[in-house]
Symmetry: C2
Subunit: 397 residues, 2 copies
Amino acid sequence: MVTESFRPPVRTLMGPGPSDVHPRMLEAMARPTIGHLDPCFVGMMDELKGLLQYAFRTENRLTIPVSAPGSAGMESAFVNLVEPGDTVIVCRNGVFGSRMKENVERCGGTAVMVEFDWGRAVRPEQVEEALAAHPEATALAFVMAETSTGAWSPARELCELARRYDCLTIVDAVTALGGIPLEVDAWGIDAIYAGTQKCLSAPPGLSPVSFSDRAVARVQSRRHPVQSWFLDLNLVMGYWGGSGGAGSKRAYHHTAPVNGLYGLHEALVMLREEGLENAWARHWRMHAALRAGLEAMGLEFVVPEDERLPQLNAVRAPEGVDEAAVRAELLDRFNLEIGAGLGDFAGKVWRIGLMGHSARAENVMLCLGALEAVLAARDAPIANGAATAAAGAALAG
Amino acid sequence: MVTESFRPPVRTLMGPGPSDVHPRMLEAMARPTIGHLDPCFVGMMDELKGLLQYAFRTENRLTIPVSAPGSAGMESAFVNLVEPGDTVIVCRNGVFGSRMKENVERCGGTAVMVEFDWGRAVRPEQVEEALAAHPEATALAFVMAETSTGAWSPARELCELARRYDCLTIVDAVTALGGIPLEVDAWGIDAIYAGTQKCLSAPPGLSPVSFSDRAVARVQSRRHPVQSWFLDLNLVMGYWGGSGGAGSKRAYHHTAPVNGLYGLHEALVMLREEGLENAWARHWRMHAALRAGLEAMGLEFVVPEDERLPQLNAVRAPEGVDEAAVRAELLDRFNLEIGAGLGDFAGKVWRIGLMGHSARAENVMLCLGALEAVLAARDAPIANGAATAAAGAALAG
């Protein structure tokens, strides 16, 4: 039986999330816990809504953090917007499209799958064919930033299409929010969910979501009750005051994760200090530097350049290299975490994250230097000695 | 738009939860975030399972914290164990029995309600009548520690009954775990869920649960898929290694709330240091002191003495006193939070929590002294000047 405190090692987190958490955020998490109905806390909840509206670029009143991880955020979108018998067009170009299918089916709906190769973006032309072939569809669901492959799908075009075919949109932005341009209102997104442990660099455990008035109207006019009590937005709105303005009366629903929300609040204040566009630009700059270094090493990206996310870099492990052993050595010798491949890419691909506080020049250099050293010692077929200089030049340029 | 960090006031938390969080736990929450698949983190997950088995007094392999608050823990029990068409006997003696009913119905089941007065315990005789009248019932659900009233129901007797009628038991222990005797294995409990922010004094956001092998077999032999993907124990078990031993292979499901789990781990290490029986005794001792003081003031308890929880003390506000104004003044002048009444008790009752780190002599004294001062200043009909001495005598005795 364990009787000792857990003292985690200090890692550099460059996997698919969680990303490095800034000390300011960790310090915020450790502030004294107060009651979730304390007027001070309710005031902070109102601030959080405003800060999330800023990050999502929306005026949606129902913009809140769900009190559970991103996969619960996903579920909150589906259980509220899908009813038994509904048809939903689901785009699949990685792991999370499959999860969307599971969600639709567990809601009693039918998922019409539009399939794309792993590592490629969703293509609007194919989606339009599906929309045209399924006029009964009530929603279109897709992953804007596929964490399993690093593919970036054209959210604006897809939302325009959905609107034209009178479908609501459900957008997975778990890895997108804070890292790449995202415009909930301008693009007409109806339901969106994100994660805190990716480009916001807050600890995992919460899922920022936003729902348009059109989506809220759909929830309020459902024929069947929402199958989840915990995620029923009719109740969650009462708790967060989602349907009224700031300071509107709260109805007890569940107990909010008080200290987790302190952390998210601090993360969003820091995003606001930096400026959203500056954060997007930083992610792009760090990606360019990392890419220069990886390419100098001779490593190949999985995703074509024009469909590639800056914050999630999937590269193929060189021929003959035991990719898991390389990751273990990076962790062991350099306290550096990079991600493994998922699904079709397991055992073949590394996923290198540059998210939030991890998107920094020092992380780029550490990653390139350590990876090159480990690969060179294993006689992997890479070009040696040029990676960090290439990245340095990209950073200076 | 807010651009400042949130600096919470320092409160003393004596409401229905969250309770005071020990500085050691806050410090643990602020330790560096590491990856949720990091071998060090996986090792901590195994430790957590062992610590929770200790707290629940069980050897159930499926003993884990659900990555969401207590209401999601409740939902995890119902969505996994109830299928469409099932009948569940639900005892209602407060708010949380109604929530159980909602859960059963949203799973497509029928809830047979056994009703009790608010503020009273569940009585086995009445439950037995319902079990005998409904041989089709597959489960009995009840709240062991009703947070809305402070009533303590006889879990051991109710579980024996359920077993006799071949029903699984679903037990709400949100406010019970760590505060009063609870024996999952010895009492034959099949599914139990708890909160972290009550007698464990960790921040809110997680729900420790435990499922017996009999319950796991029921989940594994379901005719319908579990309606929640996020709470599907078949998947959650793969992530936590619930079906194998320590160190068994993990399958990615969601991203665990890393820092929240650091806090829970620390809370459980502290519980282990104190000893579970000692924690139960401490809750009882502090209750005896608080009760002596409240009775000396002339305040009346809602729940009869032999059905009363030590950790949740519901007392009637004196005639003519604006109870909300008193609570606001306690918060404002003394940074002391006590709870309001819920449901039938709204506006009439205070709920004074003595949970976890809040169950301390200094909290008892602060609460009695401050409450007496505020009530006296309002000319409330109470006996003045005897409360703290009575509590002091109880503590010394």
